[in-house]
């Protein structure tokens, strides 16, 4: 500090310039490194999963058509069959159904927070949503297992382990994702839209329904798709309540299984390189491909965003 004061103005200028350019370079290297690491990680996981996932078809000669279309899954029988359709169906079913429940709730909550009661609504709802994010999935699963499953068993048919239970657990889990992104989307709308609509004599509800919702629609859909992506990848909570059976469900109250639950149930028991293990990797590959589809949808929606 004292040294600095003793330096002349010119020297200080030169020194600070040198300092700055050094700092600039260091910062640039750091963030480039971060970006590179992230890209490498993503690319290598993708490559690894693709190679592993294709092995069951290339090395073990499991028919890809059978894998995707057959409903018969019995890898340990004398005449093994590898039909993963029930699991693909189960994954998609719980994902779409939970989005169906969570999307209206989440978007409704977002409108409440941004339009109806911006001050106290945010104050109350925000911490509630943050709390929901913080609850680990195993806790959701455990609550589902001890409360939801017996409830469905007593008020419906069957054992209670069902698509319905999985859907309800998942919709609560993805609610924060949808609400948070939807709130940001609604909040980002320029207030000129609101003011213009109100100035034309529209009521608050008319403004929300006719002006704000259509304007925010691409972002709201992005929120829903991201929520679905989270639901699609969730394994633990679903595994505890869905029942994990190999047959196609006939109703909402039937037990089912998803790709993720079958992977987590079997991964530890199978040996590396065996057919059973490889087919699990293939399921992982399908998960990745469908996740990519979700991301493509999000990107398409973002490109359509006008505001």
């Amino acid at each position: 500090m004292e040294n600095k004061a003793a330096l002349s103005a010119g020297e200080r200028l030169i020194k600070s310039k040198r300092n700055r350019s050094l700092g600039e370079l260091r910062g640039k290297i750091l963030v480039t490194l971060c970006a590179l690491i992230m890209i490498t990680a993503t690319v290598s996981v993708t490559i690894f999963l693709t190679v592993k996932g294709l092995q069951s078809f290339l090395v073990n000669h499991v028919s890809p058509i059978e894998f995707l279309t057959s409903t018969n899954w019995n890898p340990l029988a004398d005449d093994p069959s590898y039909g993963a359709l029930p699991f693909i169906f189960g994954s998609l079913a719980v994902t779409f159904l939970s989005a169906l429940i969570a999307a209206p709730l989440g978007i409704g909550g977002a409108i409440f927070m941004t339009e109806i009661a911006p001050s106290w609504g945010r104050k109350v709802l925000q911490p509630v949503i943050e709390l929901l994010v913080g609850i680990p999935s195993v806790v959701y699963g455990f609550i589902g297992l001890t409360i939801l499953v017996p409830f469905i068993r007593e008020h419906g048919t069957g054992t209670g382990f069902s698509i319905l239970a999985g859907t309800i657990v998942l919709s609560i889990m993805i609610l924060p994702t949808i609400t948070t992104i939807a709130t940001d989307a609604m909040g980002a709308l320029p207030s000129s839209l609101r003011e213009g609509s109100l100035a034309l004599g529209a009521t608050r509800w008319q403004t929300i329904r006719k002006v704000l919702l259509p304007a925010a629609l691409p972002s709201l859909l992005t929120a829903v798709v991201l929520g679905m992506a989270r639901a699609f990848g969730e394994a633990l909570a679903v595994q505890m309540v869905i029942g994990n059976v190999r047959s196609l469900p006939a109703s909402l109250l039937d037990p089912s299984a998803t790709l993720t639950t079958i992977i987590t149930l079997n991964m530890g028991h199978t040996t590396y390189g065996s057919v059973e293990n490889n087919t699990l990797w293939s399921m992982g590959l399908i998960l990745l491909i469908i996740s990519f589809v979700f991301i493509l949808i999000v990107r398409y929606l973002s490109s359509r965003r006008k505001i």
């Binding site: 910062g27 750091l30 963030v31 490194l33 971060c34 690491i37 992230m38 490498t40 990680a41 996981v45 690894f48 019995n74 890898p75 340990l76 029988a77 297992l145 001890t146 499953v149 017996p150 068993r153 054992t159 209670g160 382990f161 595994q239 505890m240 029942g243 994990n244 059976v245 190999r246 047959s247 037990p255 299984a257 079958i262 992977i263 987590t264 149930l265 079997n266 991964m267 530890g268 028991h269 199978t270 040996t271 590396y272 390189g273 065996s274 057919v275 059973e276 293990n277």
Partner: protein
Amino acid sequence: MKKTKLLSFAALLILLIGMLAACGSSNGEEQESNGSNETDQETDAGQGSESESDEGASDESASGSITISGSSAMQPLVAAAAEQFMSENPEADIQVNAGGSGTGLSEVSEGTVDIGNSDVFAEEKDGIPADELVDHKVAVVGMTAAVNPGVGIDDISKEDLKKVFTGEITNWSELGGEDVDITLVNRPDSSGTRATFVNFGLDGETPAEGVTEDSSNTVKQIISETEGAIGYLAFSYFTDDSVTPLSIDGVEANDENVQSGEFPIWAYQHSYTNGEAEGLAKTFLDYLMSDEVQTGLLPEQGYIASTKMQVERDAEGNQTDK
């Protein structure tokens, strides 16, 4: 301030990548639960093999470090034994992971770990060079069908048990119990518990579809809460009245009947080494077979001492008197 933040962020990222890399050779369950441990353990494994080759001459060594992985059913037993062993031999460092029998067998044949635990014979798993692995039958676990206490029976013939699990009998009243429908609780296809129950309880018949869960505690909870439910559990889970263990053909499901060979459904708990055990791995396996563990720790943890078995069984499931 900002710089340190950025630096710590970068460090975090690098750590994360390291964890990912370390988990690459390992299994899914572990990745989530103890990813950070694993990096340590793998370096330990490296050191372990070094020190073992150094001490290869003296088999009595009780120092160095080894890594053990595999069957989650065996994990509590081996971990408890390792803890006792380490307190007696402070020079030794033994890391015990769970992860499943398949993981244990794969990792020991790859040489990633020193001992791989499994609740099935290595011969029963695909892609494992069983002839290269050396089997140490550390303990025996008995298991039996467990039913919800409300079904009203506590003994079942093997024929009826098969009919129940294949879906031929669908109501407990057909077996003289209460009038409630039967709900099956299964394990996943690849589970060792399921393989044992199917082979020795159902004589190899494939069970009908039912709720499938992996963890014994979850299975126990489902059976205790669901009317008419039946599943299968190891003896050590029959600690309270929430589920009823079934006797089979009048033979009660207990340790003595398993030891005498009268009760059919039991499995060895195997510890496999790649080639003959050496150094610390050998000392530890000898310790597992010692009376201290076999008569002390094993019954405490709900396992049956393998040294007390009056019968033995080979990989094909043939049972012979010892």
